[in-house]
C-alpha cells in the first residue's frame, strides 16, 4: 500500500516538475485575484475579517483550478486504466491524489500568502501569528484536498467537467470557509493578534475527519472501469 502510494505520488510530482501546469496556473490566478480584490474593494490595505475573507476566497478559488485538473491527465492518457490493471488497493490512488493536491496547495500558498501580506494585508504578522496561520492553513488544506479529490474524481468522467467542479466543491467547502475565516480573523486584527479560537480549529478537524472517512468509503466506486 505505502509503496503504491509512494509510486503514484512520485508520478504526480514528477509530472508537475517536468511540465509545470497546475501550480503555476494556481499561483498566477491567486495573485491576480488579490489584484482584483484591491480594485473591487477599493482599498490599499485590509485587516481583520475582511483580510481573512480575501485570503480564503483567493485560496479557495485557486484550489478549484487545481481540483478540476487533478484527474484530467490520468483520464486522458489512460493512467486510470493502467492503475486499475495493477494489483493494488484503490485507496492508494486516493491517498496519493490527496497528498499531491495538498502539495500543490502548499506550493501555491508559499506564493499567495506572502503576496497577500505584501499587497493587501495591513498589520504585519509576527512569528507567532505566522505559526498559527500555518496551522489553520494546514487543517483547511487537508479538508480542501480531500473534498477536492472526491469532487475531481466525480467530475472527471462527466462531459461538463470544468463546469461541475466549482459547482460541486464550493457548497461542500462552506464549512471549511466558515472555520478557516473565523480562525484567521483574530490573526489579522488591527489591534494586535487575538488568540486562535479553538472552536473553529475543532470544526476544521471534524470536517477533515468526516470527509476523510467519506472519501475512503466512496472512492473505490469512482474508479471501477
Amino acid at each position: 500500500m505505502s509503496r503504491a502510494v509512494g509510486a503514484l505520488l512520485r508520478k504526480e510530482l514528477q509530472l508537475e516538475l517536468r511540465a509545470p501546469q497546475i501550480v503555476p496556473a494556481m499561483a498566477l490566478f491567486s495573485v491576480s485575484t488579490l489584484v482584483v480584490f484591491h480594485f473591487a474593494l477599493q482599498r490599499g490595505q485590509v485587516a481583520g475579517d475582511l483580510a481573512a475573507g480575501v485570503l480564503w476566497v483567493t485560496l479557495l478559488f485557486a484550489a478549484m483550478l487545481g481540483t478540476s485538473r487533478l484527474f484530467v491527465a490520468d483520464h486522458e492518457e489512460g493512467g486510470l486504466d493502467a492503475f486499475l490493471l495493477a494489483p493494488v488497493d484503490r485507496t492508494a490512488l486516493l491517498v496519493a491524489k490527496v497528498a499531491a493536491l495538498l502539495a500543490f496547495l502548499a506550493a501555491v500558498e508559499l506564493v499567495a500568502v506572502p503576496a497577500f501580506a505584501i499587497l493587501l494585508l495591513g498589520p504585519a504578522p509576527s512569528a507567532g501569528e505566522l505559526a498559527r496561520l500555518v496551522a489553520v492553513l494546514a487543517l483547511a488544506d487537508a479538508g480542501i484536498a480531500v473534498t477536492g479529490t472526491l469532487v475531481g474524481a466525480l467530475a472527471v468522467q462527466t462531459r461538463a467537467r470544468d463546469l461541475l467542479v466549482p459547482l460541486l466543491a464550493l457548497p461542500l467547502l462552506i464549512p471549511v470557509v466558515i472555520g478557516a475565516a473565523k480562525a484567521t480573523t483574530p490573526l489579522f486584527a488591527e489591534a494586535g493578534a487575538g488568540s486562535l479560537p479553538l472552536r473553529w480549529v475543532a470544526i476544521l478537524a471534524l470536517y477533515d475527519l468526516l470527509f476523510g472517512l467519506l472519501a475512503y468509503a466512496l472512492f473505490d466506486f469512482l474508479v471501477e472501469d
Binding site: R159, L163, L172, I178, I203, Y207, L210, L214
Partner: protein
C-alpha cells in the same frame, strides 16, 4: 414492489390530511400574538423543510443500498427522492423568504442559521442533476450519482452544525426546549401539517416511481412487438433521467 397498488387510497388520504392540516392551521391554532396572521406560513414552511431534508437523507440511504447491491431500483428510488426534495426545497426557500420579509422586514437574513444552511444544501443538491445528466453510461451515471447522494447526505448534518456555530443567533428557536416553545394547540396543528406534507411526499414519490415502472414495462412490451430490437423506436436514453432496464 408494485408502486401502483392502493395509490388512489393514498392520494385520498393525503388530500384529506392536507385539508385537515390547513383547517387546523387556520381555524384551530391560535393567532400568534406577535406576528399575527403571517405566522400561519409556519405550518407550511417548517414541515416542508423537514420533509425535504428527510427526502435528501432518504436519497442518501437508498444510494448506500444501491452501491451495496448494485440494484438499479435503489438508484431510481434515490433519484426520485432527491428530485422531489429539490422541488420542495425551492418551496422552502420561497416561503422562508416571504416569512422573513413579513416578520423581520428583509427578504433574506443571514443570521438565521437554519435558513442559511438550507440554502447551502439546496445549492449543493442543485448540482445533482447536472452531474447525473452529463454522464452518458447509465451504469456509471447511477454509481456516480449514488456517491454524490451519500456525500451530500452526510454533509447535511455537518453543514447545520457549522452554520449554527458561525452565527450568534439572535432569533429564538421555535423548538428551543424539548417540549417546544409552542402552545399545545399550535403543536397539534403543526404535527398534522407535518404528517400531511410527509404523506404528500410519499404520494408524489409513489406516483413518479409508478410512472417510471410503467414506462419501463411499456418499453419492454414494445421491444417484444418489434421483434428485431429497437429499430423504429424512440432511442433509449433520449431523456437524461434514469429509468429501469426493461424487465
Amino acid at each position: 414492489m408494485r408502486y401502483g397498488t392502493r395509490l388512489t387510497t393514498l392520494s385520498l388520504l393525503t388530500a384529506a390530511t392536507m385539508t385537515a392540516a390547513l383547517a387546523l392551521a387556520f381555524f384551530y391554532a391560535p393567532m400568534d400574538a406577535d406576528q399575527g396572521f403571517m405566522q400561519k406560513i409556519f405550518y407550511v414552511h417548517v414541515p416542508l423543510a423537514i420533509v425535504a431534508l428527510c427526502g435528501f437523507v432518504f436519497g442518501g440511504v437508498m444510494a448506500i443500498q444501491h452501491l451495496r447491491t448494485r440494484d438499479p431500483r435503489y438508484d431510481l428510488r434515490s433519484y426520485v427522492a432527491i428530485h422531489l426534495s429539490l422541488v420542495l426545497g425551492a418551496g422552502v426557500l420561497v416561503t422562508g423568504a416571504i416569512w422573513a420579509k413579513a416578520s423581520w422586514g428583509h427578504w433574506w437574513v443571514w443570521d438565521e442559521p437554519t435558513l442559511v444552511s438550507f440554502l447551502i444544501i439546496f445549492l449543493l443538491y442543485a448540482t445533482y442533476q447536472p452531474l447525473r445528466f452529463s454522464i452518458e453510461d447509465p451504469e456509471r451515471q447511477a454509481r456516480y450519482a449514488s456517491v454524490f447522494a451519500i456525500t451530500a447526505g452526510a454533509f447535511v448534518p455537518l453543514n447545520f452544525v457549522a452554520v449554527r456555530l458561525a452565527q450568534s443567533y439572535t432569533h429564538p428557536r421555535v423548538f428551543a426546549t424539548a417540549d417546544g416553545g409552542l402552545p399545545p394547540r399550535m403543536q397539534v396543528a403543526f404535527l398534522v401539517s407535518l404528517a400531511a406534507f410527509a404523506l404528500l411526499f410519499v404520494t408524489l414519490w409513489r406516483y413518479e416511481m409508478t410512472s417510471k415502472h410503467a414506462s419501463a414495462q411499456l418499453r419492454s412490451l414494445r421491444r417484444k412487438l418489434t421483434a428485431d430490437g429497437d429499430r423504429g423506436l424512440p432511442a433509449r436514453g433520449r431523456s437524461a433521467a434514469p429509468s429501469l432496464p426493461s424487465p
